[in-house]
Subunit: 384 residues, 2 copies
């Protein structure tokens, strides 16, 4: 498996990271540009908090786990400083987006802004030994927990009571975030959060019959036969499964590990496009028309998170069937998303695998899924 390990390491260190080092640093106003065209030119200057946090996290993580490279730490600090100065409102909630100069554009309606900020502060705090950052990471984490039952606050459009839905994203993110913040939290809070996440993800949102993960359930945990209730996002469920595999590994829980791997296989089978290859973005569990017009598109993060899940699954099982699945997704992804001519990966393909938007970064794609997956796959194959 030396070849895969080398391939993903080289892609990370010789292609992906240099692309962001070269093109994304806003030296004038601070923070990062993320709206980069195919060749890395900036085509919009708005700053999206998800992506500011995620890039600061990526460079801090590389510093902590790959190499004590001062340049990486400086880049991380560049985003952390911007987040500290402009990222949050007076109640400690993170905005969704800012202008280039850091003026708030979109209010803190989206709790995942806070999740990625907390993740960035934690990783940077450890990298730079910066107490202000570790404190901010913990404060933000506590704030997320306190907003958990009503994450959108006054921006919630759902009428109270008629069809009270709960969404998979928050327990899913928390199962990763609490491991990220582990060194900063009390062991009790970590274990308690992990227990709650395993329960929500594997007992509530996982449908035992189909082995698929629902995105929305009624608040009592039952199925909602509605557009939202029928929605399956295969890549999202698969990403969650590698978070659960990390937890299973940490707890030496082979039963949980097996279960997570089985769910990866089920979601991949359900989500695979037999006609054109690749994994669909959204499907309706009953085969009805999904409500999202982009349902049949092939997205970079869906495929990269699947590669991580399969690489980890293979590392733990050494099962040839899993390896074959890895190679199938690997071949599709490298054939369609990678861009050897201009560097980094395309983000959005149509169902046929043709480039739909010729960008390397935008409102939702930044320096995160590509480098994180490259790192995770590299390390998963490293020991063989």
């Amino acid at each position: 498996m030396k070849n895969y390990s080398d391939l993903y390491r080289d892609a990370l260190l010789k292609d992906v990271i240099p692309f962001w080092e070269r093109n994304s640093i806003d030296k004038q106003a601070g923070g990062y540009f993320t709206c980069l065209d195919r060749f890395g030119n900036v085509y919009d200057t708005d700053k999206f908090i998800w992506l500011q946090g995620r890039q600061a996290w990526t460079f801090s993580m590389l510093y902590n786990k790959v190499e004590r490279n001062q340049f990486w730490l400086d880049i991380a600090k560049h985003g952390i400083d911007f987040l500290k100065t402009y990222g949050k409102d007076k109640n400690g909630n993170f905005y969704f987006s800012l202008t280039r100069e850091g003026k708030p554009l979109i209010q803190p309606y989206n709790i995942f802004s806070d999740c990625f900020a907390s993740m960035a502060f934690a990783q940077y705090g450890l990298a730079a030994n910066d107490e202000e950052s570790t404190e901010l990471a913990v404060e933000t984490f506590q704030n997320i927990l306190s907003r958990k039952s009503n994450p959108k606050g006054k921006y919630t459009k759902a009428f109270p009571e008629t069809r009270p839905l709960k969404n998979f994203s928050l327990p899913m993110i928390l199962s990763n975030l609490c491991l990220e913040l582990e060194p900063l939290l009390s062991p009790e809070l970590v274990e308690q959060t992990i227990d709650a996440c395993i329960h929500e993800v594997m007992e509530v949102f996982l449908d035992k019959e189909s082995n698929l993960i629902y995105e929305n359930l009624l608040s009592d945990g039952s199925f909602s036969d509605s557009f939202e209730g029928r929605l399956i996002n295969p890549g999202h469920g698969i990403e969650a499964m590698w978070f659960i595999m990390d937890i299973a590994h940490r707890r030496n829980d082979s039963e949980l590990m097996d279960k997570a791997i089985q769910v990866v296989v089920s979601l991949l089978e359900f989500g695979w496009d037999e006609e054109h290859g690749g994994i669909f973005y959204f499907l309706d569990v009953k085969g009805k028309p999904p409500m999202n017009l982009e349902w049949d598109q092939k997205l970079w993060w869906v495929h990269l998170e699947t590669l991580v899940a399969l690489a980890k699954a293979y590392r733990f099982t050494q099962d040839q069937k899993i390896f074959n699945l890895f190679e199938k997704v690997h071949n599709y992804s490298w054939d369609h998303f990678s861009d050897p001519e201009a560097g980094e990966w395309f983000g959005y393909l149509n169902r046929r695998g043709e480039v739909l938007l010729p960008l390397k970064g935008g409102k939702w794609k930044g320096c995160f899924h590509v480098p994180r997956a490259m790192y995770q796959v590299w390390k998963s194959f490293d020991t063989f």
Copy 2:
């Protein structure tokens, strides 16, 4: 032009309207089903206020303008009764969606629910001579005017002041709605609203240099170089232009008529997909990657509203160039959207013109754009 007139009339009366008569009436709970699969089977039972209002309007309009058919009036009343009973909150604002039984699901965050409800009550009130409906139409219209400066109310996610954008949709809809409500409003209010609409649409949102219509501008009327500011929705602008053509006709304003027709041609040229045919859903005015993943899809309403605009333009100009454009869009639309096997029109095609969602109705497509366009094109060619 007899052939086109007959073709659109027959499509309306022998295909489209029978499809909705047959499949959409919820005899048990009231109102209309709009989530209908290719063959008219109900696949979801939620009730979306946009579509409840629009279908009640369509059947009332047919009763008023085509034939005093009691069955049509009964169908209109079926939706009107549902809207009267369940449609609005205690402040008179219309919800976005309800359960099948009429319980509120999504709060009144979307002022276009009110617009289509008002339009339905007005048309039905005239058809049935129902004073309660005409009063509701006027009250709702007044409420829309009073909410105009802040249509989303507390659901607005934009931070005040940083980048205060105004959106094209409301002046666009009002230029149609005030003609719809004309018999119920004071002449002063009608003229005043029309003047304001012409100003906003043709002086503010219309870019004189490119002859394109922006979807969002800064509140002072200037261009915003942002994802929202760069957005062009060709079908939306073209639909607005036939509203303006109706106003120009009513006012005998040939200068305004010419201007509107020129904008139709510009938007159609800008929006036409030279590679695969059809009109793109969204484009970026500077050619940057649009923020909407569905940007390259071909939508039914975009093409139908363009057919209406071109049919009206031809009626007023008898210009062969306009007729050729009509035939080009006509041929594309009938080749790709119509479904002679199962009836009615498909709503969503991918860029290549292949069916993306095999539905005849859903959360956004109901009994409205297809029949309204069929009626308008029929009548536009009727006099030749």
